[in-house]
């Protein structure tokens, strides 16, 4: 009977282990001293690429960066409005080519060096002078806004928008541009344009992005020594355990952080995030699945829904199917899709039907646009008028992806395909994995007739939406009326804010009536979930949450 005894002993041992483990298991630090102090632990869905905002363009890399860095202009918490950041005031010349920033006095970087006009100019010069194809290729936002470098390497090819920066006096930085762009001044608030300590940039070799074989290696500045002026300082990134630890910056120029420590815990699995929250090992996490809102609230969490700043659209590719070049056919499809019901049945609360391609809060949103209410009869009639009663379309949709504007792409696709079939259109469904062919097929090769795609805006300018979508000819939409490109380019180039908005209003109205290169479907904002003892999380439409306002009790 030895074996039997042995088995019993093992079972008993395991049981004992489990039971003692229970007694000793750490339940996370609860509220320590009410409104201030303590640690706020936030669950992130992925690891940041690195901590130098210059080389990043994804939310997971921006989230920690936003706590450590400031920008010249910032966005008022919970809105897309501009408010003073490191600059207390800014003004532009009438032609929009000269920007004068009045800097806040007495601001210090985390390494103790002073923020002054020379430091600000050093940052602008650093971006412009960046060397190396590897480094330039990672500066997506810089390339988008400033278009080119002092010396374009690799495939950078644009003419630089940036000309020079001069420190008129310690608190006045003057920026000279080669041309005005509608992105300014809002784009000065982009996380990618965070201001770093020039001393730290130099000390830690910040520009040395090196290419080893077919990958990149980032310098110490980006991996271990990000040095900004923000409310939190970088402390450590424990890669083995996937935790990023930031500590309160006691010398912060603005409202100081309420918690001592801010920890981002990287938990890629959605269910694992949910269970960690329920077990109390994290205090909150981002982008809960809309299907979980109810359960999360029942468990006593706060589900905070961001104001919508994204657009989902169904695009037409005019290249492959001549029928789609006929406005009547495109209008028929717009009338055939029951967008109200999509929003009601497939989307979380806070979503709405999109009447045009910019969210309502953006300057340049047109109040009066051509409406396309759900009307299958009218859709059929338009198809008949166009001589296309038996249209067949290849409708591409993505799989293996979830985005705020399409929590479940297959679901949305099925509903829309059924709508189209109902008016006599034959739909060939083509499902492709998001990063396994979908984006290539749609954006590079343009193999589709119809496709669904979306966008979350970066800053409050209509150009960031319609300019990005329809500003030039792209494989995604095929040949378009050049008048549309023209109109958008002209609107973007008007420096006067009132004229700028008016031109975009007209462009938005024309896009909906004359050009209709796609159908705007809906606008929505993703949620952020925190435990009920957490206060001060202000959900931002730009997902630009600053956690210095957060406290636990």
């Amino acid at each position: 009977m030895q074996a039997k005894r042995w088995a019993t002993a093992i079972t008993a041992g395991l049981l004992a282990l489990t039971m003692t483990a229970c007694a000793a298991s750490d339940r996370g630090s609860g509220g320590e001293d009410g409104a201030t102090g303590g640690t706020f632990v936030f669950g992130a869905a992925g690891a940041p690429k690195n901590f130098d905002p210059t080389f990043n363009d994804d939310g997971e890399s921006f989230r920690p960066a936003r706590q450590m860095f400031d920008t010249l202009i910032t966005y008022k918490q919970g809105t897309t409005e501009l408010e003073p950041g490191l600059a207390t005031a800014w003004e532009s010349s009438p032609d929009g080519k000269t920007w004068t920033f009045t800097l806040r006095d007495g601001v210090k970087f985390h390494d103790g060096t002073a923020l002054d006009a020379a430091a600000v100019c050093a940052n602008f010069d650093r971006w412009f002078q960046m060397k190396g194809a590897a480094a330039q290729s990672q500066m997506i936002y810089y390339g988008d806004v400033f278009e080119g470098f002092a010396q374009n390497e690799g495939d950078a090819s644009g003419d630089p928008v940036y000309k020079s920066c001069t420190a008129q006096d310690p608190t006045t930085a003057v920026l000279n541009l080669n041309k005005f762009k509608g992105a300014f001044p809002a784009a000065f608030g982009l996380t990618s344009f965070s201001i770093s300590s020039p001393a730290a940039l130099e000390q830690y070799d910040a520009d040395a992005v090196t290419q080893s074989g077919d990958s990149f290696t980032y310098p110490a500045y980006a991996t271990e020594h990000p040095t900004g002026t923000g409310p939190f300082r970088f402390e450590s990134f424990d890669k083995a355990n996937g935790t990023i630890t930031l500590a309160r910056n006691d010398d912060y120029w603005g409202e100081k952080a309420k918690v001592d420590k801010l920890i981002f815990k990287i938990i890629p699995d959605e269910n694992a995030r949910k269970q960690e929250l329920a077990a109390g090992t994290i205090d909150g996490y981002d982008y809960p699945s809309p299907a979980d809102y109810g359960t999360l609230k029942e468990q006593g969490n706060q589900v905070l829904i961001r104001d919508p700043f994204s657009i989902l659209y169904v695009g037409f590719n005019t290249k492959n199917n001549p029928a789609l070049r006929d406005l009547k056919v495109r209008q028929a499809i717009a009338h055939a899709i029951d967008r109200e019901s999509l929003v009601r049945t497939k989307m979380p609360e806070g979503s709405a039907v999109a009447q045009e391609f910019v969210p309502p809060t953006v300057a340049g949103y047109a109040q009066q646009v051509t409406q396309y209410p759900y009307d299958p009869a009218k859709a059929k009639q338009l198809l008949a008028e166009a001589g296309q009663p038996n249209l067949t379309l290849n409708f591409y949709y993505p799989t293996e992806v979830t985005r705020p504007y399409m929590p479940n792409p297959s679901d949305l696709f099925s509903a829309m395909a059924a709508n189209l079939e109902a008016v006599g259109i034959t739909v060939n469904p083509v499902a492709r994995p998001w990063n396994g062919g979908y984006k290539d097929d749609v954006q590079k090769a343009g193999k589709h007739d119809l496709h669904m795609l979306g966008w979350t805006g970066d800053y409050n300018d209509a150009g960031n939406f319609v300019g990005t979508f329809f500003g030039r000819e792209k494989a995604e939409f095929g040949p378009q009326n050049p008048a549309m490109f023209d109109e958008l380019a002209k609107a973007d180039a008007i420096p006067d804010p009132a004229g700028h908005a008016a031109a975009y209003e007209k462009a938005n109205a024309d896009i909906m009536s004359t050009y209709l290169p796609a159908v705007p479907i809906l606008t929505t904002g993703p949620a952020i979930v925190v435990k009920d003892n957490v206060q001060g999380v202000i959900p931002s439409p730009l997902t630009d949450e600053r956690f210095y306002t957060v406290s636990k009790n």
Binding site: A21, G28, S212, G213, P268, A272, N435
Partner: protein, 334 residues
Amino acid sequence: MLRYVARRLLQVIPTLLILSVLLFAWLRSLPGGPAGALLGDKATPESIAALNRTLGLDQPVWIQYLRYLGRAVTGDFGASLVSGDPVLSELGRALPATIELAVSALLLAILAGIPLGYVAARYRARPWDNITILGTLVGVAVPVFFLGYILKQLFAVEFGLLPPSGRQAIGIDATSVTGFAILDGFLTREFDASWDAIVHLVLPAVTLATIPLAVIVRITRASVLDVLESDFVRTANAKGLAPGTVRGRHVLRNALLPVSTTIGLQTGLLLAGAVLTEKVFNWGGIGTLIAEGIERRDYPRLQAVVLLGALIYVLVNLLVDLSYAIIDPRVRLR
């Protein structure tokens, strides 16, 4: 014996070479690529194409492979596209985590599986045996992620007895020496860190152990039944040897041969199971690297991880063959 081991080790080289060619070709035949994953949703097709050129991913695959091989020979396996860290240092961080998990799971499976299988065989066709068999069926049938989810829901969320995921509680500031968290705690005399590591290990290890446990139970049971009916056991019993001696020296020793083979074969499955288990429990080991690597098309990382996995598999099989020679004197290695 030594010559045998040396020959087996030499055979590893062509195996890995062929595997690396196949892997290289397969990865690059997948649609999409690292550039799209690296640059995120805001990237334009132009910036993706530019990055592919910068990374040399627009070159013919064979040129890319030869370059890779040239660097690999010098020990440079590239840097991860996701993290920018050299893949070898990523592996160095992740491997101890996975070994800790896999070894714990395998030990659990062996220590519980052999006695359970033996007892089931001894009490063949009685209720205990039937319960065991049913249990093994369930163990094999329940998907890892489902089991992991349920265990977490019970022990972490409902009862709050064990941590839900990860390897370390926040606030435990453990010093890493070897990367094996339990061992490190003992080495640095930070026993609370060791304890914390053990506590974090319980649920994932149990989850990962279920399938090998079920397999070991069944193999042990079948093998013991075979041996119990063999002539030499009958002879031993007839000679009047003490029952304990018969069971230990005759029955178990002979019955363990097929079991040890099974354990060797389980290693491959264990590595596969570890991928899922690590995802569910946010374990941060090799499995996590693979899952993230596939999602983001991290070629350098995947190449290194798969080659390492193959190397481990080959070495484990060698160990199994060696253990054969030790358990069964009739086996001669040549």
